[in-house]
């Protein structure tokens, strides 16, 4: 690669420095935002409010965990890399499926099992279109997003399906050690996926597959199976998030697709919390909480919530621009 000869002279030192700045900078920004709200917003730092933010971040956070897995397995290139745009729609259809089953009187284990299967099935569909049909993930999941959003409409007739079950009650009202159950679900899912992705051979190989498929192939890994499995994980995350959503809103709701922008923002924001500038589970958790505190702070300060959308947009732009600039500097090494 001749161009890398030229670019290769950019010293590693300056890159390390910029990574350090980016990482420390984002942590500092996080701390700064907390500090500003702590001073200006009433009751921001109260234990109740913090627990509340954790619980409110559960839906977005768990969806973002799913997207994180897909981005790791498909590579972090924003256009050609791994992406699952159908996550939010998947949540919608899973919530609708659970509500319908529950209202139809199906017993709890069956309803829960079938809902999880529904999430997995959507994940399998995405995996199939990406791995077997070789569509770019961006287009494949855009198509499946529309498909399952349509399915949800058929199922719900575009209305809210209110439902109530012991499981949902436990999720929304349950408190353990002064921490709400939804927060436990977020932390628990994060812990499980964190162990799987950051600390197991599966996770390491998934990174290899996403980052350098030829290297993974040379190491004897079944690249397609790993990519496929990342979409299954995403589908599972969507189903888990669907329970949180159904608990939070007491049933299925319309307009779950609006979550998508936040999910993408959280996942890409999570990248800056790692030394290697890669998508990762702890970073995604931090980013989800950051966004949660931001929304919460705006609410406490009575700032209109549409500002949050603007802030998210700016964050996506910043993070994507910064990390692709750094990646370019890395050149074709």
């Amino acid at each position: 690669m001749p161009s890398s000869d030229v670019l290769g002279q950019v010293p590693g030192f300056s890159r390390q420095l910029s990574v350090l700045l980016l990482r420390r900078g984002s942590l500092l920004a996080f701390a700064g935002i907390l500090a500003v709200f702590a001073v200006t917003a009433p009751h921001f730092l109260s234990a109740g409010n913090i627990a509340n933010v954790f619980a409110q971040s559960a839906i977005l956070g768990i969806l973002a965990f799913g997207l994180t897995c897909v981005v790791i397995g498909g590579g972090s290139h924003v256009v050609s890399g791994g992406l699952d745009l159908s996550l939010a729609a998947n949540l919608g259809v899973c919530a609708a499926v659970y509500s319908s089953l529950n209202n139809a009187g199906v017993n709890a284990p069956q309803a829960i099992g079938l809902t999880l299967m529904c999430g997995l099935a959507v994940g399998a569909l995405n995996g199939f279109t990406v791995v077997v049909l070789r569509l770019p993930p961006l287009l494949a999941t855009l198509a499946s997003m529309n498909l399952i959003a349509g399915l949800e409409l058929v199922l719900t007739q575009n209305s809210v399906l209110p439902t109530d079950s012991a499981v949902l009650d436990a999720l929304v009202d349950g408190v353990w050690l002064h921490v709400p159950a939804l927060a436990w679900v977020l932390l628990g899912t994060g812990l499980l996926l964190g162990l799987l992705i950051q600390h197991s051979p599966y996770g390491l190989r998934l990174y290899a597959v996403g980052e350098y498929p030829e290297a993974a192939r040379a190491a004897g890994l079944n690249v397609k199976a790993y990519v496929f499995s990342s979409y299954l994980l995403a589908g599972l995350c969507a189903a888990v998030a669907a329970f949180c959503s159904a608990a939070y809103f007491s049933g299925s709701t319309t307009g779950s697709g609006d979550l998508l922008l936040s999910v993408v923002a959280i996942t890409f924001l999570g990248v800056v919390f790692s030394r290697r500038l890669v998508a990762n589970i702890p970073g995604t958790l931090l980013a989800a909480l950051l966004l949660g505190f931001l929304i919460n702070g705006f609410q406490l300060l009575n700032i209109a919530s549409f500002w949050v959308n603007g802030v998210q947009g700016v964050l996506i732009l910043l993070v994507v621009a910064l990390s692709s600039a750094l990646r370019q500097e890395e050149g074709g090494q």
């Binding site: 161009s3 030229v6 600390h199 051979p201 290899a208 190491a219 890994l221």
Partner: protein
Amino acid sequence: MTAETPPALHLQGVFKRFGPTRALDGVDLRVERGSIHGLVGENGAGKSTLIKVLAGIHRADSGTLAVDGQVFSALSPRQVEALGVHFIHQERLLPPSFTVGEALFFGHELRYGPFIRRRAQAREAARLLREYFDLEFPPGALVSELDSAQRQILQITRALLAKPKILVFDEPSVSLVKREVDQLLAIIRRLRDQGLSILYISHYLQEIECLCDRVTVLRNGRAVAVVDPRTTSTAHIARLMVNREVSDMYPKPVITPGEVVLELKGLGAGQAYRDMDLTLRRGEVLGLTGLVGSGAKPLLKSLFGLVQPDRGTLHFQGQVIRLTSPRAAVHHGIALVPEERRSHGVAPLLSVLENLTLAGLSRFSRYGLLSARAQAQESDRLIAELGIKTAGHDAAVQHLSGGNQQKVALGKWLSRDGVLYLLDEPTVGIDIGAKVEIYRLIARLAQQGAAVLVLSSDLPELIGITDRILVMHRGTLAGTFDARQVDSDRLLACATGARETVATPLTPAREPEHAFV
């Protein structure tokens, strides 16, 4: 070694045919145990096919492979690995965001139950690097923070984890600098002394000479000689590699060079190339060649504004200019016909007419609207003149053969009058008839008073169609030759850094970098 010891690797009578071409025409290759065996040959001699047959990626049509005396007619990649044959490719297959430990062990991680033992991997990696190579990498370093040589060493260590018997190095020194190459060669010698058998493939005859115990020379799919590089000069090996006749396929009109069009003074760009001086006059065809990594390609790109030089000056028609973008280059009348003509040279989905007129649309437009008639006239003229075989000017370029696509790519620039033409590997992958027509075209460009710079690795072609030839080697100008007085052997020897002929070019080599080892 006793006579009964079977060789580590023995290929006998391997044939491989792709369509009408015989890529391998009965190759024999014998690598003795505990020795370093070199494999050399020109581009297209069959080296990469041979390696792919050995790796189990291609299946030989006939012939046998023997590893340690066990004879096979075909192998799968998995079998090859199980037999202890491992490959080090020129690309380093390591994910850039991995730590040294992770990159070394991924796929065969050290684990504690279901979890990776990251610390143990890092410790083990450090121990292995110390044990095999006496090297220490910065603790906690990521692959992206290592230099090319360190990555190469990591790649070798990864291969060594599997306890191989035979290591195959496929052009491992490309994109390494001299010091790193020396380090690599020392490591390979050390591996041989530890008992491994090594097959070493390289363009660089210098490395072959100071490293290998035996060398097999491939030419046109045959092993034409097995020599001892300690008693055979590199120039002789180079001659064995080429041995081709320059036919009269090269039309070369006599042109008196005009004014100077392009002059470079001490141009350099990063580590890609440095200290480049050259002059190019109107009516002159200048050849440029060099191996991968020699800097010839970045130099060509600099002249079209694709790579920014950071030292020296570029004079164009008497003025010092800076080419900051291809747009600026086109504005000055510089045209590039790129090598990747499918992706860069032509728009495959557009018609022949559209492609031919794309570069000079302003000539065919009036009040901002295109004149279909003027376009059709000009493209029909070019189609006839260049002998482009097409159903008509409305045919899509993607349906044309490679040679005809290349003619369209050239014709595109003929439809506007360039001052300097840069041709990057103009005849790669096209048949001999189309080649000759392209040579005629080049000759005509020069006759019309344009200056032409041809980058090519086809040496007989360069000798046939150019006036002077510049040879680059590892980023510097290694020699300038008069095309009438040079042969492929000397060019190749110069490009590969063989000593014997470096002393005789018109311009002495700038740097005695290949001092005898």
